[in-house]
């Protein structure tokens, strides 16, 4: 098959179709060909031998990494053994990949220079998604925490006959003197109240 010398055949294994589509577009724009995209759980060895990718980009949340790694040890019968992409023994690449949550396997003998831009692109894309997810997580957490603190405050108001401001200040004081987060104190107050209620 005649193809551009610089063009590489890429396979993407990703749990998030949205992210994988975005990556496909970016990598196609770089002049590469996406030969297959898959989520976890497919017969990977079969896909790999059918599509013969030069590089496999894989989401680290996918359990399939172990399946791919085994293809290396049975490579005696395969013309294109797969190895994990590292930039000549430097663990820097692995570190960056771990942080981004994506890694790559390449056919043995491929020059790292040719693959690095692809991995960089994938890592950037994954990082972007990570920060979106973290942002969502954070908003969710603060919301939940605020709810807990409000609930605990209600308990303190009722039990001690305090107004809202006094209840809040008292909780803040206790939390500070015990070196604990306000939300953790709130959790203890709620737990204690629940214990007393069920003990009745």
């Amino acid at each position: 098959m005649a193809r551009d010398n610089k063009q590489l055949n890429i396979m993407i294994i990703d749990e998030l179709p949205e992210r994988s589509m975005a990556m496909e577009k970016l990598l196609t724009n770089l002049g590469h060909r996406i030969v297959a995209t898959a989520s976890s759980g497919h017969d990977l060895p079969q896909l790999v031998s059918r599509y013969q990718p030069d590089i496999i980009i894989i989401d680290m949340d996918s359990p399939d990494r172990d399946t791919i790694e085994h293809m290396h040890s049975i490579s005696a019968e395969r013309p294109r053994p797969i190895v994990m992409f590292t930039n000549d023994d430097d663990s820097d690449t692995i570190q960056k990949a771990v942080k981004a949550g994506v890694t790559a396997y390449i056919v043995d003998g491929m020059h790292p220079q040719r693959v690095m831009p692809i991995l960089e692109t994938a890592m950037a894309r994954f990082k972007e998604y990570q920060s979106i997810r973290e942002e969502l997580e954070k908003t969710k957490n603060t919301l939940e925490e605020r709810k807990l603190i409000e609930r605990a405050k209600g308990i303190v108001m009722k039990q001690q006959n305090y107004d809202e401001e006094t209840a809040h200040k008292t909780m803040q004081k206790i939390a500070m003197s015990r070196n604990m987060k306000l939300v953790d104190l709130a959790r203890s107050i709620i737990a204690a109240a629940e214990l007393l209620r069920t003990g009745k």
């Binding site: 172990d66 399946t67 290396h72 040890s73 771990v98």
Partner: protein, 432 residues
């Protein structure tokens, strides 16, 4: 166990993240966290559920995890640079013995049963029955049977190979043996994509209770009280955090002793089954921890009392002879293609010194030697030393071959099937 607060070592680092794979034997880490053993030693531990063994390895290597629930063979493979990433690793804590089993599809089970009615009682008989079936299939031009395990450098791989090879089956030629992540095993078996697998719990229990497969042989029947998971860290990490490492091992020994108690297992099954850890029906975990497997719908469950050994029999002691056996299997199956000083690597990775220090601080006795002959004891036994109050477990292999860690080469040449890729004479020269 005896620990006075004033004598506790002070960890260099107290906030730690440890990785685990959602399997029953991660319960030692979970118990250490949930039952407050980590806290007792001043450690704040977050447990990070990981998707693959490759993730565990890479994250420990780059320091994204301080340490992890690890396949025993992975510590050695990573030290040797087999399996994609090279970094010296150490372990001073063996997490459990046994825990694996080989489960086959109902169809294959029926075929095996036709060959021999006693397949469940003796793995030699089930392996022989399989050999007959493979020969018949081959003569009839039928496709190969498919088997799966979880990772190339796992005891699951070495156990299923050992079992097949004992009957003269070459696992690299006579069947297709592939890697499938544990959580996909049952579906693959159900869909007929594989005919059998060797995996850790709860996945055998799951296949059996869903009626998808039959538990054919336990790992215990292949090698009594074989090592399974360890707690692994990098050698650099251990050198930089000796006290933290000691604290971790002390906490883990206490947790392992706690979860080895049958009553605690029963109550802890719910915690372990929660989404934060394994994420499966608590009843499956409870039955597995008790060693009960519902192999036949209308009969009593099949009982395997030593299915999970977490502490008794010195289960937590990192025997260098276990490491040596694992290296022998890496040679046997052509994974290790370099001639090495076997004991040197075994002793670099398996570090009983830290274990002994932790055990003595806890007031526990421990073996004073690092190697033992494997495969000689058919039942539990005691060392010839009145000061030592512990018993060791049976350690027989299914074929009664004895493993002498001083004579790995003659051990290798004593097996029927081996796909070794090094010159045994060369290996002998370096290991005399």
């Amino acid at each position: 166990m005896m620990t006075e607060k004033s004598k506790l070592p002070v960890p260099e680092k107290h906030e730690l993240t440890l990785g685990f794979i959602p399997l029953v034997d991660c319960c030692v880490l979970v118990a250490a966290r949930e039952q407050g053993f980590f806290k007792k030693y001043g450690l704040e531990v977050s447990l990070s559920r990981e998707a693959s063994w490759a993730n565990i390895r890479d994250k420990v290597c780059v320091g994204a995890l301080d340490g992890a629930h690890m396949l025993a063979g992975m510590t050695i493979a990573t030290t040797l640079g087999l399996g994609f990433n090279k970094k010296p690793m150490v372990t001073s804590f063996s997490m459990n013995l046994n825990g694996n089993a080989i489960t086959v599809s109902k169809a294959l089970y029926e075929r095996l049963l036709e060959k021999d009615a006693n397949i469940e009682n003796d793995p030699n008989l089930s392996a022989k029955a399989l050999k007959q079936i493979l020969q018949e299939d081959s003569a009839a031009g039928k496709p190969m049977l498919n088997f799966a395990m979880v990772y190339p450098y796992s005891n699951h791989n070495y156990e299923i190979r050992y079992w097949m090879a004992a009957a003269g089956i070459n696992p690299d030629r006579d069947v297709a043996l592939k890697v499938i992540p544990p959580q996909y095993m049952v579906d693959n078996l159900k869909d007929g994509l594989i005919d059998g697998f060797c995996v850790g719990e709860p996945w055998n229990s799951c296949a059996v209770s869903m009626g998808v497969g039959k538990l054919l042989t336990s790992g215990y029947q292949i090698w009594n009280n074989s090592p399974e998971k360890v707690f692994g860290v990098t050698r650099d990490w251990a050198a930089k955090h000796p006290k933290t490492h000691l604290c971790l091992v002390m906490a883990l020994i206490e947790a392992a002793a706690w979860i080895d108690n049958a009553n605690n297992r029963d109550s802890f099954a719910n915690v372990l089954a929660s989404d934060e850890y394994i994420g499966i029906e608590p009843d499956i975990i409870r039955a597995s921890l008790a060693g009960n497997f519902n192999n036949h719908a209308d009969a009593e469950p099949r009982s395997i009392p030593d299915m999970h050994v977490f502490h008794r029999y010195q289960a937590n002691f990192p025997w260098c002879s276990h490491a040596t056996w694992i290296i022998s299997q890496m040679y046997r199956w052509g994974q290790l293609q370099e001639v090495i000083d076997i004991k040197q690597i075994a002793e670099a990775v398996y570090r009983p010194d830290v274990y002994r220090l932790a055990a003595s601080r806890l007031g526990l006795t421990y073996p004073s030697f690092n190697y033992k002959t494997e495969g000689e004891q058919g039942s539990e036994w005691k060392l010839d030393d009145d000061d030592l109050d512990f018993k060791l477990g049976a350690d027989k292999y299914m074929d009664n071959i004895v493993f002498d860690p001083d004579n790995v080469v003659s051990y290798l040449s004593g097996h029927k099937v081996e796909n070794c890729l090094v010159e045994l004479a060369q290996l002998e020269k370096l290991n005399r």
